[in-house]
């Protein structure tokens, strides 16, 4: 099976499918309500900002897609960072909560709510590591 390029439409759909088949994620995120933009800022070969949308609701991913126009959605949370930082997160080399608390990733939205759901965040990262991902950087 071919590798999926990080930040592509296929990649975010693969994450959507991984989350929806993960009992561990469903358990960890059973109380979670809130949609996200994961914003990948240009770095290296990436020259344009990438907006990945995910609607996460009570342990399931209701919708996930690559968005061309960020005005299309108005999510509760916007998490952004340089391509290299996201790569570290997706490869489980940088804890996303630690990245938020130290400002390595930026967050718009209620940070307490994200921090309290650390187990759900960890399960999302585990799901990311199960996707055979290729990076441009």
């Amino acid at each position: 099976m071919a590798k999926l390029r990080f930040g592509s439409s296929e990649w975010i759909l693969a994450l959507h499918n991984e989350l929806n088949t993960s009992q561990a994620y469903e358990d960890a995120a059973k109380n979670w309500e809130g949609d996200f933009y994961f914003v990948v800022e240009p770095e290296g070969a990436l020259t344009q900002t990438v907006y990945l949308y995910m609607d996460l609701w009570h342990g399931k991913s209701r919708e996930a897609k690559l968005v061309q126009d960020p005005k299309e959605k108005n999510p509760a949370f916007i998490m952004s960072g340089k391509y290299g930082k996201w790569k570290q997160v997706v490869l489980a080399k940088l804890d996303p909560i630690q990245a938020l608390m130290t400002g390595q990733l930026k967050l718009k939205g209620n940070m307490t709510m994200v921090m309290k759901n650390v187990k759900a965040a960890q399960e999302i990262i585990r799901a990311c590591t199960r996707i055979d991902t290729e990076f441009d950087l």
């Binding site: 938020l100 608390m101 209620n110 307490t112 921090m115 309290k116 650390v118």
Partner: protein, 95 residues
């Protein structure tokens, strides 16, 4: 220098900007004699445990007040503590 543990009860709605600004201000507001050493966040209780080294309890309280951190992370408990770790215990293997 004395060691302290500060337990903050985090507000239910906090922004990252507020946290990062407070952290930056805290560095400036802390006298040279006071050092914030490390922190642990407890998701289950939404508390933040912070370890400090400072001359007095009041030094820490003042620095936290000036930083603005208490607006979203009020102090629940502030205690002077005695650090004890594995290196402080006798090495059983040596006997």
């Amino acid at each position: 220098m004395a060691r302290f543990i500060v337990i903050h009860q985090m507000a239910e709605n906090t922004t990252q900007d507020a946290v990062l600004v407070a952290r930056k201000t805290l560095s400036a507001a802390s006298p040279e004699s006071a050092e914030w050493r490390s922190s642990w966040y407890v998701p289950a209780t939404n508390e933040l445990f912070c370890e400090w080294e400072a001359p007095t309890l009041e030094t820490i309280r003042q620095a936290l007040f000036q930083s603005g951190a208490l607006q979203f992370a009020p102090i629940k408990i502030l205690h002077e503590v005695v650090p004890v770790g594995p290196k402080d215990l006798p090495d059983e293997r040596a006997t």
